[in-house]
Symmetry: C2
Subunit: 139 residues, 2 copies
Amino acid sequence: MSVDDLLRNHGLKKTTTRKQVLDIYLNTDHALAVADVEEALGDGVDRVTLYRTMGTFEEKGLLHKVYDDDGKLKFSLCSSDCSSHQHHDNHLHFHCRKCGKTTCIENVAVPEVEGLEGFDIQDVYMVANGTCKDCIQAA
Amino acid sequence: MSVDDLLRNHGLKKTTTRKQVLDIYLNTDHALAVADVEEALGDGVDRVTLYRTMGTFEEKGLLHKVYDDDGKLKFSLCSSDCSSHQHHDNHLHFHCRKCGKTTCIENVAVPEVEGLEGFDIQDVYMVANGTCKDCIQAA
DNA sequence: TCCTTAATGAAACATTGTTGCATTTAACTT
DNA sequence: AAGTTAAATGCAACAATGTTTCATTAAGGA
Ligand SMILES: [Mn+2]
Ligand SMILES: [Mn+2]
Ligand SMILES: [Zn+2]
Ligand SMILES: [Zn+2]
């Protein structure tokens, strides 16, 4: 889907910054932090605007949060059925300790949690840490 | 096990601050951030010392890191078989969005990850978010 | 008790994220 | 196409979290 369509479908105004940010995510295969996007845009856009842009994208279901080993916040594109009402990104994530990249493993679902009687589970986050394919091959 | 024994068994000097910090963790059933410990100690101990203390405890296998929903870093007591060589805290964690407490669910193991051929998985972190027992009862 | 090394305190700094307010711009109305 | 309005942006100031350097203090062994 195009950048313009994605923005319209999620009820967002079509601004220059939003189109640029979304374009970056569409052309990257791993999660990006605010600082990464800031660097990719090479100045010209205020840091605060990026924080607000990513926040809005997360609220509206365009991006979902990803945390790596060190609690560093990154964002990844959501699957097509995420909206402002609900996220459906219950897949595994992989964080490579060599290259630092965090990737969505869309085809591995987070397993159901058993044995937690008395708790109300809303969602489960799961991240595997280790060495990614690329870094193994490069070694 | 006593505070003194724990410190000795992990090869750590017995200082006032370390004993106080460890005592707090032994008497709390949920994970605590550096700021939480600082507040519990009520001044007198420098913030930097606490960061270093918790860092050392983590290295030596006395505490393990816990991240909640917002990437906030907390620490929890490790199971008895953690050491500076390796952590064995592969259990589920629960983060309550009402009270904010993060708890170790020692009796629920993190499931093995299937379907990740080509990756080298070192460890897996898993946290369930929702409402805890206490907050459900209080409602 | 003395000595050595590790632990601590203090200050300065870096990074990440938030808030208030003035200005600009997108989308809608006319 | 111009005008209107609410949302988005830029800027400055602030807050929270974490790190680094260096002088001082304290722990544990000799
Ligand atoms: Mn994902
Ligand atoms: Mn735990
Ligand atoms: Zn890698
Ligand atoms: Zn609760």
